[in-house]
């Protein structure tokens, strides 16, 4: 045997898919007429090695981390809340609408807190319908939450254009929060508060899901709903709770983005973070620490990718393509690894037989 089982496992599950994804991306780039080496160099240079690029990558993780927390909580409980985009944008709009007036009326920290609360509340409210349908009518939440997401995006635009429109400009957008009133940067500007809060949110969700009775109940519902009913858990009640918390976290993602970075929300703006983070938390297998790593890697990739796109004329979508290929590669690696384990078992059984 050339490699031991542990090394073989690592090769199949991590290194192989990673190299394969990079190789495939390189081939696509070649077909686009771009030098892959230049592209990758640019991505790493601008996304990770340059101070401003790294700063941008770190800053970008804030909303992504909240979304990751939202998705991990829901997915571990077996609830496929795909309404994250609508919940995110409504949270962002409500936070943006409240931030400027509240910042003048209240102490700054209290204004931020009120914005967070309102954003979480609107996100949660936007999930009530799919949650209720799932809990009491057995309607699949994949479709209903996705539909609500489209409605949420539309409602957010209506709110921007007709309710919260900044009177001081003709551009359809909310009143801009002055930079002085935004969330501060910690550690001499290196660490935005939003990123710290996002990290806390992911770690908190991870801890709740693995260490608390509440999280254990949610996991049981997610892993085996029939066993949950058999064990006497309140499955509909827990379903409602999961939706509320998950959608609330998605709403917080919007608030953090607005209060920390954007300052306002323009009409027809939709970063679509929700669906972007879905593959990342799958790659992390719903593990909080893994999710943090993948979210950061994705930020680097997307910041560097944008820069490389500008420089080399490659579409932005290449970043998403790498993530997609990586996901497919890792899934394939998993299958290969299971096959290898089966073969080992069979060989061991045969070997044991021969020894007898």
């Amino acid at each position: 045997m050339i490699v031991g089982p542990a090394a073989g496992h690592f090769l199949r599950v991590v290194a192989g898919p990673l190299l394969a994804a990079l190789a495939l991306t390189a081939i696509v780039l070649l077909l686009l007429g771009v030098d892959p080496a230049a592209y990758f160099r640019q991505v790493v240079q601008r996304g990770l090695l340059s101070p401003s690029g790294l700063q941008a990558a770190i800053t970008r993780t804030a909303p992504l981390l909240f979304i990751a927390a939202s998705l991990i909580l829901a997915f571990r409980a077996g609830i496929w809340n795909l309404g994250g985009d609508g919940q995110y944008l409504l949270g962002a709009v409500v936070a943006a609408a409240l931030a400027a007036p509240l910042a003048q009326a209240l102490p700054l920290w209290l204004a931020w807190l009120a914005c967070f609360a309102a954003a979480a509340a609107i996100g949660a409210a936007w999930s009530v319908l799919p949650a209720w349908l799932r809990a009491f009518r057995g309607v699949n939440e994949v479709v209903s939450s996705l539909m609500m997401s489209f409605l949420g995006l539309s409602l957010a635009n209506v709110l921007i254009k007709f309710v919260f429109q900044d009177p001081g400009t003709t551009v359809p957008q909310t009143v801009t929060l002055p930079v002085a009133d935004r969330l501060p940067r910690l550690l001499g500007g290196a660490l935005p508060t939003g990123v710290l809060l996002g990290l806390l949110a992911v770690l908190m969700v991870h801890w709740v899901m693995t260490r608390t009775a509440f999280g254990t109940r949610l996991r049981i519902v997610g892993l085996n709903a029939r066993a949950a009913a058999h064990a006497g858990l309140d499955v509909p009640g827990l379903t409602l709770a999961v939706f509320a918390l998950s959608a609330g976290l998605a709403g917080l993602a919007g608030a953090v983005d607005v209060l920390g970075v954007q300052g306002n929300v323009r009409a027809d703006w939709n970063p679509a973070y929700g669906l972007m983070v879905v593959p990342l938390v799958f790659l992390a297998r719903f593990n909080g620490f893994g999710a943090i790593v993948f979210v950061f890697a994705f930020s680097v990739l997307s910041v560097g990718g944008e820069s490389a796109a500008r420089r080399l004329g490659v579409p932005n979508y290449v970043t998403l393509m790498i993530v997609a290929i990586l996901l497919a590669g890792l899934a394939a690696g998993e299958v290969l690894d299971q096959r290898a384990a089966r073969r080992r078992d069979a060989a061991r059984a045969a070997g044991g037989e021969a020894a007898r």
């Binding site: 892993l223 029939r226 058999h230």
Partner: protein, 516 residues
């Protein structure tokens, strides 16, 4: 009987996750012969049937059909080679008609015969098996009874000109009388002067094997333990002893030992069910005293599962009264009933009894999530959990590396021990066992039965739901028979209980058919 076998298997070997389900088995099937594959659960019978069906492929060994080496690489190929299989759980599409189901997999759609042609061929096949009540080709498969679905599978095999018919535990879902009909049918197919078939009859029931086998091959832990041709010159008792020796090779006391049938008068009533209505349950009256084991017999699907679920609180009650220690349980949910001491060990061990992806430690506490001392203010205390799990692993002899082993990685017997440990723990007053030894190997099943006896001895009221008559007769002090959501007979345990219960089941089944 022709000398050359139709199908012969040599050195057949097949492993699953390191366990040898089949280990160098040689066996040959002849036309005109009913060949019984006899063995306990886990002996390898079903694996052998699956290989004949083309569902599984052997790791080693050869399959010869008419003397020619063949590989049965898919169900389609097995079918084309003349092997028809009647599965234990019929594989039909419930929403399609019988005719569509029978034609399914028979070839590409453009070569499919017209419905009228399918119906004609179904009738022809039914004539061969001498069926009196023909199947309706247009009936949806989902609306048929187990017996009818089984007959449809046989008909399907005959329509495809199968020369070898494998029946995997065909009697497990049938009443004793239906089983007798099936035996006659197999005989008829084997003795057909024009087209004598080879019949492979898979069973774990010794008497069935003796009733119909021209040749009996005994499998034991994946190996062929022996072969017997119980001719007319061999007394039944001698054949029986020989087979028992092959199946268990001297393992003692395997014949079912009837319980004493003496009711423990000292026990006071613990569980009382009065007029319980929860569709399909239709007015159940039952009382179980401390230390008593009451068996619930009947064909699967006559309300036994629903009775257990209604007792556990998993199923809403329309009318009636359930009392534990004299207190009504009516509005209480599953968790509250568990705390009061009403326990339910489900037969669907990985489906609902346990969460496969969680460790043993959590599965042992599945019905007490959040309770002290394992959680404090909602936060898990792993030390307490692990200590609890280790104590349970020792007390219930659970064979597992440790508290963190996932439930999905346990064998059926060990998973059952985890569930029993959870349900029997502190404060149990009454417990419902649903098919407790279903799918367990013989050693685990014996251990499980001993646990049930011990539970009753310790003063619990025990309700034992089982479709295994021998098990019920062995354990129960009293037996009730369920049919169509009602209790149709009450039989005292002890001598003669087996026959009385068997008769009651057949009677209930006939009445149900008459109503339908």
């Amino acid at each position: 009987m022709s000398a050359a076998p139709f199908v012969s298997l040599e050195g057949l070997t097949r492993s699953f996750a390191g366990v040898r389900a089949l280990d160098g088995v040689d066996v040959a099937f002849h036309a005109g012969e009913v060949h019984v594959l006899l063995g306990e659960n886990g002996a390898g019978k079903s694996t052998l049937a699956a290989i004949l069906a083309g569902v599984q492929q052997p790791d080693a060994g050869t399959v010869r059909i008419d003397g020619t080496l063949r590989s049965l690489s898919s169900p389609r190929e097995a079918m084309a080679r003349g092997i028809g299989v009647v599965f234990q759980h019929p594989r039909f599409v419930p929403s399609l008609s019988l005719a569509d189901n029978v034609a399914l997999g028979g070839g590409p759609w453009w070569r499919r015969p017209l419905p009228a042609e399918i119906a004609r061929r179904m009738r022809e096949a039914e004539r061969r098996i001498g069926a009196t009540a023909p199947l309706d080709p247009l009936a949806k498969a989902g609306s048929l009874s187990q017996g009818e679905l089984q007959r449809a599978q046989i008909v399907r095999a005959l329509m495809r000109d199968s020369r070898l018919l494998v029946l995997d535990e065909p009697t497990s879902m049938l009443t004793p009388e239906e089983a007798a009909d099936l035996v006659a049918l197999m005989r008829r197919l084997a003795d057909d002067p024009d087209r004598p078939m080879a019949i492979v009859f898979v069973t774990h029931k010794l008497d069935e094997a003796l009733d119909c086998g021209d040749r009996i091959t005994v499998l034991r832990r994946g190996r062929k333990a022996g072969e017997l041709r119980p001719g007319a010159d061999m007394p039944r008792e001698a054949a029986r002893r020989a087979l028992l020796a092959m199946m268990f090779s001297g393992a003692a006391a395997l014949a079912p030992r009837p319980s004493t049938g003496v009711l423990p008068d000292a026990g006071r009533e613990i569980l009382r069910i009065e007029g319980l209505v929860a569709p399909p349950l239709d007015g159940i009256y039952l009382s179980v005293r401390a230390g008593e084991i009451v068996g619930v017999a009947g064909i699967d699907g006559n309300g036994q599962r629903e009775l257990a679920e209604a007792l556990a609180g998993q199923r809403a009650m329309v009318a009636g009264d359930i009392r534990l220690d004299g207190l009504p349980l009516g509005p209480l949910g599953v968790a509250a009933r568990f705390r009061r001491g009403l326990r339910y060990a489900s037969d669907d061990r990985l489906g609902e009894g346990a969460v496969g992806a969680l460790p043993i430690a959590l599965n042992l506490l599945l019905k007490r999530i959040g309770a002290a001392p394992f959680w404090r203010r909602g936060v898990a205390r792993r030390v307490a959990m692990d200590a609890h799990a280790r104590a349970m692993i020792a007390a219930f002899d659970i064979r597992a590396p440790g508290p963190h082993t996932l439930a999905a990685h346990l064998s059926g017997g060990n998973l059952q021990k985890v569930i029993l440990a959870r349900e029997l723990e502190t404060g149990a007053r009454a417990i419902v066992f649903a098919k407790p030894t279903h799918g367990l190997d013989i050693v685990s099943a014996a251990a499980c039965r001993e646990r049930i006896r011990a539970a009753a001895r310790s003063g619990l009221a025990v309700l034992l739901i089982s479709t295994d008559l021998d098990e019920i007769v062995e354990l129960a002090d009293r037996v009730v028979v369920m049919s169509r959501g009602r209790i149709v007979a009450r039989v005292a345990g002890g001598e003669g209980a087996r026959e009385a219960v068997g008769r009651a089941i057949s009677r209930g089944e006939r009445r149900a058919e008459a109503q339908a």
